[in-house]
Amino acid sequence: MPQHAYKYSAAKLLRHGLTRGTWPRMWRQPEFKDTYDVVIIGGGLHGLATAYYLATEHGITNVAVLDKGYLGGGGSGRNTAIVRSNYLTPEGVAFYDRSLHLYNTMADDLNLNVMFSRRGHLTLAHTDSALRTMHWRAEVNKLQGIDSSVIDPSDVKKEAPSLDVSPNTRYPILGALFHPPGGTVRHDAVVWGYARAADHHGVHLHQQTEVLDILCEGGTGPEGKGPGGKVTGVRTSRGDISAPIVVNCTAGWASLISNMAGVPLPITTHPLQAAVTEPTKVFLPTVVVSGSLHVYVSQTDRGELVFGASVDPVGTYRVNGTLEFTEELAGHVLELMPGISKMRLMRQWSGLCDMTPDYSPVMGFTPVEGYLVDVGWGTYGFKAGPVSGETMARTIATGKTDEMIAPFNLSRFTEGDLVGEKGAAAVGH
């Protein structure tokens, strides 16, 4: 944090509590300039983290982050706040583990309590084939030094006593992949932390600024867009900005933004629904995930149970809730924890997930010079936020694709070199 930044501390909290003084705004309302070195589309976790690391690690501060709504109003504020690194491919494991490390020190780095709770993560296996995949994941994880192992039902019961591990259920629990470093983070705090820190380092955060078009020249498509061309700027609802580098950090609208530059993406957008119950006394110490039952459960510090599911099967931009989801979710959760049948659901919401064919993201350079993407984050964007920002910033600053994100390049689809993460990234399989 630079000198002029307002530092949060226990003493400040006490003083404000006693004097009831107002807190300073977390970030400025900057003037809208018509030229920036880097324009980042999407003021969510990925966009803000990229801006933050550009400013702090690489000294690139003439950066604008544009959002058509408010900061963290998309996937960053709608996810179920779970973090873990027990993936299936070595590329995925290394990547998400770096993210976990960044989450670990984030409260100090950003001077904001992000409420990281390293509470352990259980992925349940209900079939022999699921158990086999768990063993596979555990071995891949261990090889890379990640704490991850397969445990049997009696140990599952010790970690999460409310689970029904008896063999008499419809889908008996045969074991679980136990990942102690996994946990939950307060997702809004992460967004605010990155936004505040980026702002203090000189980044301009423009909310209520919708990108209408990406301006290109020299490309093979109409208006100079498409492969072979280069980016000259963006047209927004508040005027044109010229910039040599434009980064697409959107989720839900990634294809629409990318089509503006003439770069089609291998993405279909699906909503993912989630729900939260009324608060109760804390009884669930770990995060519990079941692939076969398409559900994941964790309990917040306030005592609410947060439920997430797989993406809706029909691709759409509409984010309304459905009765099918609520029924299926309730049935599946009760299958795992029959004891909570009297709990009431309090809220239900959904967010947009950009699904790629191999359940891995699309990151880095594109055939249009100066146009970069950090998209296709499906159902795993939150846990990857910090490392995505770090690697995208390094890629932008050095002009070379960072080694860690090289496997996630857009060209893997035309080269047929996919990174299959379906076995570990999603619960809907």
Binding site: I267, T316, Y317, E415
Partner: protein, 80 residues
């Protein structure tokens, strides 16, 4: 809930069918280059608005058919 008008089975809840995504033109596998083929396999318009898409009536007549759906409102209209 999305009600999908199957041309053979009539209106049905979308959970009885499978959404196979937007209609994409399949190149001739004998002459297509690898790039053309993979473009057909993976790249999508993913438009917000009216799109032509394929549905499979998996719990009914098991036939494939094409309809137009608005991906912002989920309204459906016949392909005509």
């Amino acid at each position: 809930m999305i009600i999908v008008p199957c041309p053979h089975c009539g209106p049905r809840n979308s959970v009885d069918l499978r959404n196979c995504g937007e209609v994409v033109n399949r190149p001739n596998p004998d002459t297509a280059t690898l790039t053309e083929w993979r473009t057909y396999l993976y790249l999508r318009e993913n438009a917000a608005g009216w799109v032509s898409e394929t549905w499979y009536c998996r719990a009914g007549c098991r036939r494939y058919f094409t309809i137009e759906r608005n991906t912002v409102t989920n309204e459906i209209r016949d392909q005509s």
